[in-house]
């Protein structure tokens, strides 16, 4: 029989946590700090809106770009929260999670040979999506000494005349790093000077602590070269609803909409109706969840300090990224041992790129009671390692 598979797909590695996932799922009493989604239920008023929309029989397709009412609410929200001005009619579309937005933006913008700069450690989809879009991924390894922010110098050293897009994944999964306004201004200068585009994945933008989130799209001269990705999963605890959105210059969005139209049709209708309620009236619920994440973040940082586990202070998302380099184990070995001896699951930093070696991703999308037990076990484990 002839090979049923494409040559391209065979070059793509499956996600690096399969092994972990299998072990953890088998283990009855394991405590996991390995989850990449909120522990909160979607606020009830949002769920109630979804139920109402179903009762009303709103079960049809929406227009390809999404409900007009929702896009208008999102435009108001983006202006209110992040000082972004997008035209809901031509510069915005609803997608199946932020993930779809990343995929179709790359497919709409890349030709073979175009290079996409991907700072790592970062979320796992940028690299394969670039390959599937015929582009060439170029990894920029970020460094702990810069708190895993992207610096102007790092960016400059990876730009070639083939560079077309920079992916900007901040607030960052897995490091929790953020980019402040001054950091973004330096990047924006290079982007404009070198005539590159930015795909900014701001899915965690509502989750920054003690610092305001700034979008690169709000900087002068950047809106016309930015593809802005956001969504409902993290801010409103709506991961399973699969709803995200993209804002971009009309000339790019129009082409993305073609892919979306043929491949997807429209984002889930029930989710879109529910999301109207989310952006319109859930600022308080979001603030409340943010406050709870912040409490846990402070707790974790305090515990790490007490047990002598080195960790830079992350100001975003719901992850901390402590360094385990001093123990003479790889991230994978550390995580595997921690799981087998103390039954605590964390994700090795290497699942998010080679530059994650020496680090662990610990999620604080868990109740304080859960974190307390898990941290006690990690503390024991570290004591034993230090012997």
């Amino acid at each position: 029989m002839r090979d049923p598979l494409s040559k391209v797909i065979k070059t793509i590695e499956p996600s690096g946590i399969r092994k972990f996932f299998d072990i953890v799922s088998e283990m009855e009493d394991a405590i996991s700090l390995g989850v990449g989604e909120p522990d909160f239920d979607t606020p009830w008023r949002i769920r109630d809106e979804a139920i109402y929309s179903l009762e009303q029989g709103r079960t049809f397709y929406t227009s390809n770009a999404g409900l007009r009412e929702l896009k208008e609410e999102i435009a108001k929200y983006l202006y209110r929260r992040f000082d972004l001005s997008y035209d809901p009619a031509g510069e915005m579309m609803l997608t199946v999670g932020g993930s779809e937005g990343i995929d179709i933006a790359l497919r709409a913008m890349l030709d073979p040979g175009d290079e996409v700069l991907i700072p790592q450690p970062s979320y796992v989809s940028y690299y394969p999506c670039t390959i599937l879009a015929n582009g060439t991924p170029v990894v920029i390894p970020l460094q702990e000494k810069n708190e895993f922010r992207l610096t102007k110098e790092e960016l400059l050293s990876y730009i070639t005349d083939k560079t077309k897009i920079l992916i900007l994944p901040f607030p960052n999964n897995p490091t929790g790093a953020i980019m402040e306004k001054k950091d973004l201004e330096e990047i924006a200068e290079v982007i404009i000077d070198k005539d590159i585009f930015v795909l900014t994945d701001e899915i965690y933008s509502e989750l920054t602590y003690d610092k305001e989130h700034v979008s690169i799209a709000s900087l002068p001269g950047m809106k016309e070269r930015t593809i802005y990705i956001n969504g409902f999963s993290k801010a409103y605890a709506m991961t399973g609803w699969r709803l995200g959105y993209v804002c971009a210059p009309e000339v790019i969005l129009k082409q993305m909409l073609k892919i979306h139209q043929f491949a997807i049709m429209c984002a889930p209708t029930t989710s879109q109706y529910a999301a109207v309620e989310a952006v319109r009236s859930c600022d308080d619920e979001v603030a409340d969840m943010r406050e709870q994440y912040n409490e846990r973040r402070r707790y974790l940082m305090h515990r790490f300090e007490e047990m002598g586990l080195k960790c830079f202070e992350p100001f975003g998302a719901f992850y901390v990224f402590p360094s385990i380099a001093e123990f003479g184990l790889t991230s994978d070995e550390f995580a595997t041992k921690l799981l087998s001896s103390k039954k605590v699951a964390v994700v090795p930093g290497t699942a998010f790129g080679d530059s994650g070696e020496g680090f662990l991703r610990i999620s604080y999308a868990y109740s304080l009671d859960n974190l307390r037990i898990a941290l006690d076990r990690i503390e024991e484990f570290i004591k034993e390692l230090k012997g």
Partner: protein, 160 residues
């Protein structure tokens, strides 16, 4: 800082003070002082436990009694309210706007005990015009907490 502390301990008053200081990003001595002050000023009026008595297998009868009263000269409703709330079986007393004046909740061991209190004590008070007793059949949510068991964490155990 007071508001932050109150908001937190309203939901969980059992938290260790040093841990409370850590998660609120305040220093321990400051939190301790604030708590003591608020106890003295009677801003914090008590630390109670939310109990599902039914689950504990202990019989309790709860009633919410709507009471209409004649307010007293110079004292408004306060005097009659204090007359009522000083009975230990009275759980809570609220002054209410609307069709009646006081909402009184009573906890007793049996129906007879509660109705006895209403007929012997409450309705015989001079300023009480009428009472309407509503027995509570089931508690769904109290003090912001849902009484039903917590749902399990159904998320995938590891995800990126």
């Amino acid at each position: 800082m007071r508001e932050k502390i109150l908001n937190y301990i309203q939901k969980n008053s059992r938290i260790d003070i040093s841990e409370l200081a850590v998660i609120l990003g305040e220093d321990e001595a400051g939190v301790m002082n604030a708590l003591e002050e608020m106890e003295q000023e009677h801003i914090i009026c008590g630390y109670h436990t939310l109990i599902d008595w039914e689950k504990a297998g202990i019989e309790k009868v709860l009633a919410m009694i709507e009471v209409r009263v004649t307010p007293q000269r110079g004292m408004g409703f306060d005097k009659v309210a204090s007359h009522i709330y000083n009975y230990p079986e009275v759980e809570s007393v609220y002054l209410i706007s609307g069709g009646f004046d006081l909402m009184v909740t009573i906890e007793g061991k049996s129906l007879r005990e509660v109705s006895g209190f209403v007929t012997d004590k409450l309705s015989t008070m001079d300023s009480v015009l009428s009472t309407k007793t509503n027995f509570i059949l089931k508690k769904y949510k109290e003090h912001g907490s849902i009484m039903a068991e917590k749902s399990k964490d159904e998320r995938m155990k590891v995800s990126l």
